[in-house]
Symmetry: C2
Subunit: 156 residues, 2 copies
């Protein structure tokens, strides 16, 4: 079925991906999943979850940011952030401050411990990025990054 036979599977475990092999969407998912798994393993070594990283970085670079703005920037629903921030606050990495002129929003800031945790995560991320750079190649890195950003920005 479905035309497009690139290669029938031969001996053991050879799979025919058919048209999937040429589809950006599928390969984007596979690459992201692999990269995430790899980073997950690195960050587990220092006892942090990978999902915390973008959150801590964005709070660090934008002290006083609100949860809603943070959720949009990190590409997740604001309700997903509630348990994450609860955890980060409980562990003393992030502080929530109420403002007086608008008592609905929190202003999020890193604590000293939060800065340290972020620094540790940054070292992991650097190693991870070096691995990715090695695979992508310095020559194509800039263009690759640029295309990723265009996809994120324009497909919505």
């Amino acid at each position: 079925m479905a035309g497009a036979n690139t290669k029938a599977r031969s001996g053991r475990e050879r799979v025919n991906y058919g048209p999937l092999a040429q589809w950006i969407g599928f390969n984007l998912r596979m690459a992201q999943e692999s990269a995430f798994q790899a980073f997950s393993k690195l960050s587990k070594e220092i006892g942090e979850r990978p999902g915390r990283f973008a959150t801590l970085t964005l709070i660090g670079c934008n002290p006083g940011i609100s949860q809603t703005v943070l959720s949009r920037a990190s590409g997740r629903d604001k309700s997903s952030l509630t348990p994450v921030l609860e955890d980060l606050v409980r562990r003393g990495l992030v502080a929530r401050k109420r403002t007086d002129h608008d008592r609905r929003t929190y202003r999020l800031v890193l604590t000293a411990d939060g800065e340290q945790a972020l620094a540790r995560l940054n070292r992991c991320a650097k190693r991870h990025e070096r691995n990715l750079d090695r695979i992508i190649g310095a020559r194509d890195r800039k263009k690759f990054l640029q295309i990723l950003k265009r996809i994120a920005a324009e497909i919505a």
Copy 2:
């Protein structure tokens, strides 16, 4: 903190991404999420879930494939496939056959309805891919795809 101030936020809702802006891993996640959302919307129009697509395609291209092989090919744990296949079988899109020489494994095949559902999903995917192609540009498409495949293959 964290050095690297590309731009302080000014008026409304300007967020400083700091070093995140240059990281492949983060941008890979954002691009994948956006692309998946877009495809999700398209496939919802025809009443299918986006996760079913790779599954149906791989079964179609590899009639008789087992669940374990299918799970590895589609990049998901085999236990994630159990409810998906239950649903596809219940709706009559996929048939499971027991083999006589190995009664542990199923052999998965598409039914006629499954072929039709896949054809509908394929039309969605083509539209989706055209949008991605427009963003990426024909000139860079091949290289982009190649890099995605290398990441998926080599980072693990």
